[in-house]
Structures are given as structure tokens and as C-alpha cells.
Symmetry: D2
Subunit: 406 residues, 4 copies
Amino acid sequence: MSSPRLLNRSFDPASNGLLARYRAVRAETDARAAPLSPEDQQIQSMPDCSPAKWHRAHTTWFFETFILADEPGYRPFDPTFSYLFNSYYEAVGARHPRPERGMLTRPSAEAVSRYRAHVDAAMAALLQKDDLAADRADLVELGLNHEQQHHELLLTDIKHAFSLNPLKPAYREAPELAAPLAARAGWVELPPGIYEAGMGEGGFAFDNERPRHRHYVHSCRVSTRPVTCGEYLEFMAADGYRRAEFWLSDGWATVQREGWEAPLYWRRCDEGGDWLIFRMNGEGPVKPGDPVQHLSHYEASAYAAWRGRRLPTEFEWEVAAGLIGLDKMGAGSGWEWTASAYLPYPGFRTAPGAVGEYNGKFMSGQMVLRGASWATPKDHSRPTYRNFFPPAARWQVTGIRLAEDM
Amino acid sequence: MSSPRLLNRSFDPASNGLLARYRAVRAETDARAAPLSPEDQQIQSMPDCSPAKWHRAHTTWFFETFILADEPGYRPFDPTFSYLFNSYYEAVGARHPRPERGMLTRPSAEAVSRYRAHVDAAMAALLQKDDLAADRADLVELGLNHEQQHHELLLTDIKHAFSLNPLKPAYREAPELAAPLAARAGWVELPPGIYEAGMGEGGFAFDNERPRHRHYVHSCRVSTRPVTCGEYLEFMAADGYRRAEFWLSDGWATVQREGWEAPLYWRRCDEGGDWLIFRMNGEGPVKPGDPVQHLSHYEASAYAAWRGRRLPTEFEWEVAAGLIGLDKMGAGSGWEWTASAYLPYPGFRTAPGAVGEYNGKFMSGQMVLRGASWATPKDHSRPTYRNFFPPAARWQVTGIRLAEDM
Amino acid sequence: MSSPRLLNRSFDPASNGLLARYRAVRAETDARAAPLSPEDQQIQSMPDCSPAKWHRAHTTWFFETFILADEPGYRPFDPTFSYLFNSYYEAVGARHPRPERGMLTRPSAEAVSRYRAHVDAAMAALLQKDDLAADRADLVELGLNHEQQHHELLLTDIKHAFSLNPLKPAYREAPELAAPLAARAGWVELPPGIYEAGMGEGGFAFDNERPRHRHYVHSCRVSTRPVTCGEYLEFMAADGYRRAEFWLSDGWATVQREGWEAPLYWRRCDEGGDWLIFRMNGEGPVKPGDPVQHLSHYEASAYAAWRGRRLPTEFEWEVAAGLIGLDKMGAGSGWEWTASAYLPYPGFRTAPGAVGEYNGKFMSGQMVLRGASWATPKDHSRPTYRNFFPPAARWQVTGIRLAEDM
Amino acid sequence: MSSPRLLNRSFDPASNGLLARYRAVRAETDARAAPLSPEDQQIQSMPDCSPAKWHRAHTTWFFETFILADEPGYRPFDPTFSYLFNSYYEAVGARHPRPERGMLTRPSAEAVSRYRAHVDAAMAALLQKDDLAADRADLVELGLNHEQQHHELLLTDIKHAFSLNPLKPAYREAPELAAPLAARAGWVELPPGIYEAGMGEGGFAFDNERPRHRHYVHSCRVSTRPVTCGEYLEFMAADGYRRAEFWLSDGWATVQREGWEAPLYWRRCDEGGDWLIFRMNGEGPVKPGDPVQHLSHYEASAYAAWRGRRLPTEFEWEVAAGLIGLDKMGAGSGWEWTASAYLPYPGFRTAPGAVGEYNGKFMSGQMVLRGASWATPKDHSRPTYRNFFPPAARWQVTGIRLAEDM
């Protein structure tokens, strides 16, 4: 399990210092926003997305609200920001409506930079103290992991916004993916029995990864790599988007209503012609060896059904990750839809206070994704990580891995 | 397990004769429609509901389409009916749009009666043959269980329609519930370990109940009876509908958007006054000892969270049902929301052909309910039965049972 | 002006007796509902339409509310009906929401018949008195004209409902139209100058037809007959539905959104084939000599623009009607969209009390139609009659007459 | 008629030179955008509004498309802009969807400035030629008047956007209005008879102001000044927003649906407290002597009905403007809703080609406004000017003037 992408490198305060980590995570946020003009940072292209400026401010608000607000002598940068940049914490009070985040031309991107600097200075002073209480350090660690989640969202949200622009702007020159997948997929077999799943005590994890608990896994096998664009094109060529028998009922209704005939960001050059894909470096041809990405749980399920297979459960995925070895698994280029609904683990408890709203209240109507993507920060993934989105969501970097019963 | 409601009385063709069972089920449909005028049978009060006339025709269409259509010499009653009364079977062809079922003033309720008689005559001739193939008998049995599901829907749908009428019409004089629940709820403890769940081979069950399989259940306890109206009134009095901290995020959004402040069919007499409940026998006061019904999964979850408890998983429910004994369990008066998403069991396979669309394609975005209700036909429930509805649905007879970790 | 359709035959109480007229109008309502089953009378196929049963009850409610309620000793048939069958009179109190009229399976069609009989008996007793006050007689006359408006709506609403039924039921055997239009259209020239328009004192007219007033009309000419289906097919063949340059902006947006490519109730036999029209006697081929009907103001305007012409204003229409002679005008088979927005005449005053809501409050967002249709009662039209509907409405019997500047 | 605001100062090419006027109008656009950051210029706060950046680009596109594109040797600045910045000209080809104008973060505000400079250079070269054809000069004049219309929209659109921001940003320090209205309103009487209305030959006017034509005006009188905030507060205090009897039916439905209880941009300080108004210089208290603004045609009509008066027709308004004298009329601070639907004048003809789409196709579903506002360019109004908006629109600077029959 030496994959730099999926290994759990959660921070060790003894050796590195929490302050260094704080600075690194905060700097990464600004590095990701750097290619964006003030206008680019302003845009909210759909209610599910947020402006880059908002991501930068909200992650800062998290530290100000949950840590600095309790520090004696801390002066809030601007008292209106607690309203403007709260995301969904009911316990913290009223907040600006999510679909109207793109309406905030003020504060400017530059003012948000000053907000970040103000909070960073206060945080640096706090983190340099010798006697930071453990529960405070845990909250800082939570804030850093929270900001890393927004690292990914900042990229997926601006990708969506840019995709709507007829000019098809490129965010950067570098490609999204380092390399194509292995040419041939293999299978790893899972012996049936009781397995332990989830994160144990010690080290950072989100509350939804805990507690570690027993789960019975049935005899099955899991593919050693995700599905490629070339394989997915076969599904499309077989009229996969026009044959109801492969689809979940909600999925079929969505296909009809939305007129889907390919993954998100795919576009035909001209009628009947080849497909182009919009990526962070602009629009270009499909690469058959790349993993297929930006598709919904519905499409993932339909593809699997067409192949006579199914998606793995999140537990099967976790077991397979251990058996294959993450470095050989082909994961890390995109999140992988599982067959598991996003529900609490046995014995799950929400944390007390506002941070208890972090995960638990979203355990309804969503599916679990496992893995990581090219947009995930390098030290922000682990085999127990549970990502989750509604089954129709496509703007995240989402792909398919197959499983089958034995 | 002597409860007449929850015992699996699936039909034994050797002793009773499939024809007798066919006649009994078909007669029950007409008995349930008998109190309804042609106008009552016409109405579709929301897209989720169907007109009683449509239920009567669609259950008939099932036998005509899946059984009689293959019989040599069978003459369809009316060739347009295959379009009008298909529900959701993509493999069988185009169909009338679901939200427009209430637009069909023709054929009349009386014409549907003639349709039923036509199909019943052909079915009787078929079922009197000595050599009915086993797979045909299985399809008949499926058709009968299908019609029994519509027995329940016919009642829940007309209840919804009547509830919208300012005249508050009564469907019948008899009350919905035979008796109040036990005054005190107890708990049954579940020892942790591997359990078998689901239906084994032999006897009728829907495909979603199979295969029987192993499941690890954690240490917990389950209440011996459902939550009562009196207990639920305490939640309401504690501002349960106005405190976000108990709610799933989707649930809280629904409460806000819909203005919920009580279960469906509850109405305040006058401002600040007592609550009335609309039931099949008209509107009347809340009875504190009755099970609380007609609430969503969101409300069930919020109530449980407020009590510091949770809903049982469907596996916990099934184990508890075996331990308590169904006759002592207080179930059968209403379906009970579980904490389980409606997903396929390990090894689940859809049946080939159109009837394969019966259950599998709905395994997305819905929650499992267990038990039975006052609207369920007496021989149409069993401990493995999996009912399922979206988490916001309230027009079914749905209630709450609590569980907690140990 | 001997046209039986367009002549103002408003009632002469001296010769015929108001009671006789009351009975005739009321009988016509029931005659129009007679071909409809209880289910047919129940249906509301869109919010703009009302169930036939509702038309029958609401017209009865008018007499009960505005006349009988003030009579000493009158006992309302059912006190809930004042809520159920109020249409839009804010001054009379709360009312059942318009889009939910089709939800009322109770009271039944038969109960509405009893309601009608109850009110008719009380009205007969009242109208047989010698000393009916003039203002009371005026209200009765208004109620009768009101009911005659519902005569037409009852037919147009059930036509819409039947058109949605794949069985395409026929309301009656008789055709809608007595005869095709004159083969050739001519023109009548209007000399410029001041004309008087609207209804003078004496005789019944709706408040929106008054006062009679002066209006300057410019030099123009008006066609002697409405546009035919054959002429309209030329517009369709010239890609009229796909060429934005002929359309009002709102009209073009509607065409795109709704996918219009022909008038309402037109359907292609099969791809590329001939057009069928759904009529009161079922579906049949287009008759090129018939007036084109069931189109919106947008389509009427676009057709006129394509011909290099325009629609007449309501004043030009009224002047032309006088010049041509209504019996030679080809009017009476369908209402004709004018270029005039529905606005108050100079000096218009709403009547005091609830009946003041009859017309005035609708003078926004609608266009005036002139003439009459095959669904209009024979004695319910006159040259000053102002019908009005929103420009996108198509389910009324609406057609086109051309005009042009000179 | 010496009011600098309402006088028709259409350009005299002989004395000033079209180039000077071109430069003045173009400079005014940039002056109005100058207080706005790139983010401010990006925002589209509702589909009816456009980003300031878009206004700046679209007005430039007009000159490029309708004038420069035909000039030999002209090189378009960017070929994609003809798609991005077309507003509604169907004849010119496809265009970016209106509700997604705010999605265009690229081209940047700075790139739009370069676009403007590019087109300005080419236009300057063209306008310096001695032999500019008359029809070309007319198109330039149309383009300048078009840009002046966007001067006003740029302000009203950014006002709407800023109003949604909880920070309530000020666009400028200067107040909107120079001075309050006259304390007392008087009346001017209109003798009945035929008047001429609309613009005659010669001088610039939009096509919808022509031709000048005869119109019969009835005896009435018109107020000498618009309604003030103080007067409107009396309507509010009299429960005007809760009494259906004063409202058009569509207006009442809008009040209910939108929860209106005051004009747009009015907000209560705190419950039951005084009203604040958001203006271009931020939020501040109501000034009773100011004209009431930012209300819909529905509210204007309801206010007039409550006063026992009505709105003037656009013809009455035009006659009264001549009689009172524009400088004494109190107009110019806000547009005034009239009782006239926006329809073509007798003899109206759309111009050939794409510019024919300028006005005519919008003559449906809108009401005429007369006058001018504080946002209107000083030389962009005249007594015949016809502004028009849908009756529910409130984000324009709209007010009320009363009339009554005599």
C-alpha cells in the first residue's frame, strides 16, 4: 500500500508541527485558485457548485467560527462573513442561500484574500503556542481535512463552469491524468466471511468512517482496474443509452428527461462524428485507455448490468483494496461508485455541537464512492474514506469498477 | 407466530386449488372498490396515486398480458388496453403516462368490470385444466400477489383523494385499527453474530426477498411495539418540527418546503386547538394509544433522533420479529420504516423477461419498510417481506419502531 | 343583420316571461351535459378547464348566491357548496382552488342534479311573482348570460379532456360546423373617421361592452371571411412554424417550448402523412374549406404576418361587421382573435359588489376576440360582444380574420 | 418644454458631427461601468437582467454586426463574439442563451474593453469619411440610441444585483433624485377630440413611435405630478396589499405568490418598524416627498383604483405632457405606467432586415410607460417615447401618475 495517492498520511504533530501542515493546506487552496481571474472566482454555474471565491472564504470561515471565535481577544475580520460564508451549519445560525452564492460580487476576491491573511495570522499565533489542547488540535485537523475536500470541489466546480462557456477555456496546460490504465483488467477474489471495515481508533478520519466494525462479505470478485473510455464506448455503441432494460427506473427517467447519451463533458464533434471530452486543459479527443469519468451512479449501474456484472459494495471495495494493494489497483484517478447507499455504520454517533452536522445529516439519498481522483489532494485519501453524492451527480470525477458474484 | 396478519399463508395448490385462490383475490379487489362511485374510481389525486378504476384494470391487464396472451385462441378484450393499463413494463411496450391515469374517463368503471369478467372467464378455463405447467402456475401466483399489492394501494390512494375533498367523505364505517397498542413498550435484545435473512427456496416470495443469505448483526435492542400517537405528540410539543438538529438534511429541506408540522392527514381543529386525523371512516380526534401513521422516513428518523434512538435496519427487524413472535410484536397495523436503503441482497438476480422489471429496477432512492398494515390483505405478509417507498412518501400506512445500540 | 348566431336576441320580459327564458337556459345546460357519464363530468384536464359537473354546479351557485341568498326563507341546498362552487369572487369569500376542481368526486353528478332542481324550484317561485324588482331581474338576466357562457365552456372543456384520451371518444355524432366557408375571400373597406363602438343603453350587455363611445378608425380593409384550413396549410407548408421572422417574441418562445407545429387537436396520421383533426364527433381528416380553429393569438398573428397582413382591431371588426352584414360575414363558426388587448373602454366602471368582479379584474394580459362559435348558444352573441383569452390559449374555438392598412 | 431630460435632442449631424456624438455615447457607457469591479460586471442576478460586461460588449456587437461587418477590410475582433453577444436577433443567427449571460467569465471585462477599443477605432475611421451614406448614418444613430437604452439598463441591472447582496453595496455617493416633487398635485384637463400622437417625419425616433396618427381622446384630467412615497404609504396603511378588490386578477395572484407588501427595494427595519429603501447610494429611510418607484403595473393600477382614479392612457399622457409643459410636469424622475398595452400604431411597419426585430416583435403582453427616469441619458427622451415592460416588472425605475374621467 505504497500509493502516494491513497495512503493515509494523516498528520503527525510530533514530527512536523501542525503549523507547517496548516500552511501547506492553506497554500494549496490559493495555488488552485491562482489561475482564476476575479470573474472566474465569482461564478456559480449551478446550485450544487460554489464559486472559487466562496470556497476560499468558507474554508477560512471554518477556522474563524469553530476555533478563533473562542479565542480571547480575537477580532472577526468582518461580522457579516459569518452569515455569508456558512455552508450548512444550522447550529451556527442563518446563512446566505446556497443557490445565491454566485450573487456575491462583494466581498471581492481580493477582499477574500485579506480575510484569509487575517485568519491565517491569528491561526499561526495560536498554533505556535506550546499548550494547544488536544481537542483544539483535533478541530484544526478537521478544518484542514475540510479544506482539502474543498480543494477538490474548487476544481470540479470551475470545470463545470468553464464547460458551459462556448470558448471552452483551459484551467491549466497539464493533463488531468498521468497515464492510461492497464490494458487488461483482472479480477481479485474475495473469500466469504466476516471482515472488519472502517477506521479504527487513532489518526484522523471523518466521523462517517467510524467505528470500525464487522461485516459479512459474500463470495465475489472485484476488477483490478476501473472501466476505460474504450470499454464504455462499446456500451454506447450497443445502444446502452436507449435500452431501458439495463437501467434503474430513476436512472432511465433521468436519461429521458435530460437527454443523456454520453458522460458529462462529452460532445460530438459534428453529427455522427467522434466524441470530444472537455478537460481541465481544454477540449480534446477521447482517449480509449483512460478511465471513463464524469458519469452518474445510474450510468455506472447500467454499464455494469449490460456487462452482466454489478458494482461492488463499499465493503467489497475496501476488502479488495487491501487484497490488491492500492498501488496496483488503478485507483486514484477517479472516485468509484459503489452499490452501497450512504448510511451510518453500526454504532455511528454524530459529534456534539455544530461539527456534528459534518456528515451524519447527509446520510439519505446518496451513494458511497470510494477511491480518490486526480483532483484529490495527495494526502487526503485512505482505504476507508467514504465519499458520497446523489446518484444523478456527474460533475464530480466519478467512474466505474466492476464486481460479480461467485 | 400465529398472527394471521404476518404469517406466510402462501397458497398450497394441492389442497385448495389455484382457481379458488384466484377467485378469492379477484373478489377482494371488487369488494374494496364496491363503496366507490364511478367518479370516485376515476380520480387520481397525485402522480404517485392511481384511480381505483385503473387498479382494477391494471391487475386484470397483468393476467391478460403475461398469461392469457400466450394462450392459443385467447381474444384480447380490447387491443387498446395493453397501452392504457401497462404500469411500468418497458419490455411490454409503450404505455399511457402515469400522471395522466386520471384523464381516462373512458373506458368507464362499468367497462372495466366487463374487462375483468372477460379475463376471469378465460383464466377460470385455464386454471381448470389439469396440466397447467409449473412456470405458468408461478406466474399466476405472481399475478395474485401483484393484485394483493394493489389491494392495499387502492385503499391508500382513495384515502389520499378523499382527504383533499373539503367534505371529508368516509370510505366505510369501520375504524382502521382494531385496537390500540400495548400501553408500555419493551425491548428485545439481539445478540451479535451472523444471522440468515431473506426467503429460502420453496413457497412464493417476491424476487427481492431472495436469496436467503448471511448478514452480521451487531449488538442492539429493538422495541416490542411501534410508536404511538401520544408519544409522537410529545415530539411535536418539544418543537420537533422546528429543530433542525434532529433531521436528515433532505428531511429538513422537505419540512421547510412543504410546511410540515404534523403527520399527513393531521389537521388542527382551530388555531392552537386539538388535532384531528382523517381516516377511512372520516375525520376524528387523535387517539393517543394508536400507532402514529402516515409519516415519512424523515419524520421517523427525526423522532428517533429526538428520543436518542434510531430506526432498526431491516435485518434487525427481521431478527427481532423472530425473537418476539409476530403475534406479540404489535406489528400488522402499519408498515415500519427501517434504516435500510432498498438494495439487492447478495446474489440477487432479476427474473428474465418483463416480470424481471417487477422489483429490481426500483432499487435506488427508496427505503425498506417491514411489517404490514390494516390495508394489507390478510395472507399477504411475512417476516421477509420488503416493502419500499421514497423517504418523503407519507400516503402509505407508515409508522415507527425504535432501536438502539447496546 | 339576420344571422341567427350573431343577432342580439336578448330577452324581452314583456312578451316571453323571464321564467320561460330561465327554464330554457337551464335546460340547455343539462342537454349539453347529457352525453357525459359521471366520470366524464368529473374530469379536469388542465387548470384552465373545469369539470362539466362543476359547470353545472357553479352556474347554479350563481343564482343561489347572488339572488336566492337574499330571499327570506330560502334554505341553501348545502352550506358547503358556497365554498366548493365559487369560481373567483373574492368578495364572496374563500373558495376551492381552481386547479383542484377535478378532485371533487363528491358531491356526485347526481347530487349536483338535485342541487340544480332545488335552486330551480326556488327560482321558479321567485320569477312567478309579479313584483320582481328591476335590479333583481337584471341580476337574473346576468345569471342567465353567465350560464350561457358556461354552455360554451362546458363543450370546449370536455373536448380538451376527450382529446387526451387515446380512445378519442366522440361527444356526439353531429359535425361541429354546418358548412364550409365561401371559397373566395373578399375585402370590405373602412373609410377613416370617428365611429361609435360598444353597447348603448338598454338591453342586456356585459359591463365590458359599455359605455358606447367614440373611436377613431384609420383607413383599412377587412376580409369578408375567416381563414380556412386550406389557407393555413399553405403557411405550414411554407415552414411557418419554423421561421421566427413572422412571430411575436412571446409566440416564438411558446412555439419552441411547446413544440407546436400545427393548431391544437391536429395530429399527423403517420410520419410525414396527412393531418387529422380531433372534433366533437371524433377524429377525422382536415377539411380545407373549413375555418381553421383552435389556434393561439400568436399563431393568428404569425399567419397574418406571413401573408403580409395583420389582424383587425376590435373596433375595425365591429365596424366591418356592420358594413358586411353579419349574415354574409362568415362569422359565427369560431371566435376571431383581434389585434386589441382586452382593456376597459373610456368611462368604464365596474359594478358595485361582487358582480363587479365579473369582467374588470381580468383586463390585463388578454386579447379580445369577436364573433361567436359553433359552441356559442344561439342567442348569446352580438356585434359588441367582447370575448377575451390569454394570447397562448388554444382550447377555445378560435380562428383568424385578416385586415390590412390602405 | 425646456426640460433637459425630456426634450428631444436628437443629434444634428450638420453642426456637431456624428463622430463627436458617437464618442460621447460610448464614453458614457464606460463611465457608468467605471464604479464596477470585474466581479460586479460579471453578475446576472435574474434572467431579465444582464451583466454590465455584457451590456458593454453587446452594444459594441451592434456596431460591429450591423455596420462594420459590411465594411470592406474590417476584421472582426473575435469571431466567437457574434454568438456570445447577440441579444435577440433571430435573423443574425444563433446566440448564447439569455439566462446564461452571467456564466461567461471569459472574455474578461478587460477583454471587453479591448473589444470596445477595436470597434471604436474602426467606427471612428468610418465616421470621419465625408461620404457616409444616409442609411448608414441612420444605422449609426440607431446604434447610439440603442446604446443609450443600455445606459439605463446597466444601472437598473446592477441595482438589482447589489440589492441581493446582504452587504447592500452603494454604486455611487450621489442620490438618485435631484429633488422631491411638488408638495401638492394639480390636474390638467383634456378637452375631448381628435389628437395627433406619435412622432412625425424627420429626426430620430424608434420605429414604434411612428407613424404619427390620429387618436380620439375622451374628456378627462391628468395629474400634474407623479404619486409620492408619502401618498403610497397611505395605500399601504389602508391594507392595500391585502384587499383584493383593488387589484387586477393577475396582479392579485402575483401579490399572493410573491408575498409582495411594498414596492421592490423596500424593506422593514425591523418587525413593525419603518421602511428602508435600497438606492444607488445604499439603503436609507423612505423620503415621503420622493416619487414612489420600482413598482409593477399591477401595483400602480391597484393604487389608482384605491384612490378612485385610473392610470392615463399613453395618448392622454402625451397630450397632457404637451399641455402641462414637460418642465412643469414633474416627469423625468421615473417612468410612468400607462393604461395602454404596448401595441403597434395604425400603419406601423417593421423595418426590413434584422433591425426590424428591434421593437415590433415585443408588442405582446407588455404595457407602455412614458416619461424618463434618473437613469435615462439626458438626451434620450421625448414626449413620444414609448418604453414598455411586462406588467409584473419592478426592477425598472417605474412610478404612477393618476388620471380620471370627467
